[in-house]
Symmetry: C3
Subunit: 209 residues, 3 copies
């Protein structure tokens, strides 16, 4: 199995778990769990494949991805009540899924010899958009927009790290692994130690008409 | 006209009516009605065509679809005040649109000889995503996420029924009709008799940070 | 540079400014600004290119677009506190972005010899969908759905004007410029003088189950 397929499998599995956890917060039934899990799991990679005109889209060509996402949804449906804080699990699993899928997105663009800017954007889109669809559809505050946390920044750093490692001659899994690691370390630091960038502060209260 | 085109026309018409009804709830003007009607009517089928790399996308190749959706929007704009409960109309029209478009999505994938898992997913995506876009854009609670109702499950059963009927040698409209019927019976039963699957119940109240 | 590329550049720049302004209302950090700016700036044109099967997607083939969007985000991050009413800036910049991108969308479809209905839809989709994504993701009321204002109608009129001007023998920038101007005049009139179409009024209060 190629490095890229491996990352796609891992990302699908972990994102599906996060999708199912959000479904549990919305109190859906088993099919609803599977629906949200699949949307989350393949959303980012699907956008990547459409943008890069890679056909068949990864899960259309290899439906095993879908079976993995469904299995993850079933697992969460029957076990989520066992965990103490589903939100904590959600955030941490999402940090792994983000990191892996940033690497998968960057890798797909690198394999097509795209320029660095496109590689970085594909990494960010693949990493962020699945979770964003999950949160928008389920009406949660998107993790990518949470204040006081690094999220898109982690995806950015991870994708840039993958580009640099690849530019330095590393190939395949090592370069992508460095990208995933950089992304995850930054995200974990933000969650554990409150690392953040300065945010924009407006002076008066926001007035919405 | 092929069975598939027939289903696409019917699905566009009925989904456009539901989109216009939601637009009436948001008190938009006539162009707003047409905009939401078109988004709802072609949303699911467009995603299906992009995923399967079917070009031109069905309504780009045959703009009559759009004219039908616009006509439906105009009809609703001038008549919606005549009906007693627009929400009830919305839900029931949506049940027909869901059933027809699940069949249309499954049929498109079957015609491309996709494996059963992909056929089922295309049926579900075509059926659920147009209405999901409508509800997300108009800030309604997505029907697919409503608690205590079967929705994604109906799409799943309809698509599986179409796959089975097709596998048993039925072709074209009969197989797809069985899928649509299975989907609709289940959805109608859920609306009329409260059929549902067990939903996930968390123990403590959901704490969102 | 072709007329179409010029319009795409202008539209990306102005839409990116609006995205960054919405990011400032959500109090994101610099990377969040860039993320929302890019989503808004390329969202509509990306949908257009996917629907018309134009590959590479405009910003994948020419990443300068992304650098422009990022520069706009940086600019807004450091200067938005200087303006009195960010919402007013947002609405007016959005009116320019809408007009330019309606012309860009229509032009792309005209260049592919699409029929008039498709040209109009591509103009409307390119103009409206970037801002719609911005507003849905950031949980703002979508401008396209604001009551008592013309928005989708302006996109419609602009795209129709571009089709007519092109049908009358004007080519390239002049025809598209007429479309952009028609769209903008209507939008500005709506903002300044309250021009609007009759909206649908239901009789009883909306009852949502």
């Amino acid at each position: 199995m190629s490095a890229l397929a491996l990352l796609d499998y891992a990302s699908v599995l972990v994102f599906a778990l996060t999708g199912a956890l959000v479904a549990s917060r919305a109190q859906l039934d088993l099919v609803g769990f599977a629906f949200i899990a699949c949307l989350t799991a393949v959303g980012g990679g699907t956008v990547r494949d459409l943008l890069l005109d890679r056909h068949p889209v990864f899960w259309v060509g290899q439906p095993t991805y879908i079976l993995i996402a469904v299995a993850a949804a079933v697992l969460v449906f029957f076990t989520a009540h066992l965990v103490e804080s589903r939100y904590r699990w959600l955030v941490w699993l999402d940090s792994f899924a983000l990191s892996i899928s940033v690497a998968a997105g960057s890798g797909a663009a690198l394999a097509l010899n795209q320029p660095p800017v496109v590689v970085v954007l594909m990494g960010m889109a693949t990493g962020c958009l699945g979770g964003l669809m999950r949160d928008v559809v389920c009406n949660e505050v998107p993790l990518v927009l949470k204040q006081g946390e690094l999220y898109a920044s982690c995806a950015f750093v991870g994708a840039v790290a993958a580009v640099l490692a690849s530019g330095l001659g590393l190939a395949g899994l090592p370069a992508l692994g460095i990208g995933a690691l950089a992304c995850w370390v930054l995200r974990a630091g933000s969650l554990l130690f409150g690392w953040q960038l300065p945010v924009y502060k407006s002076r008066p209260p926001r007035h919405r008409p």
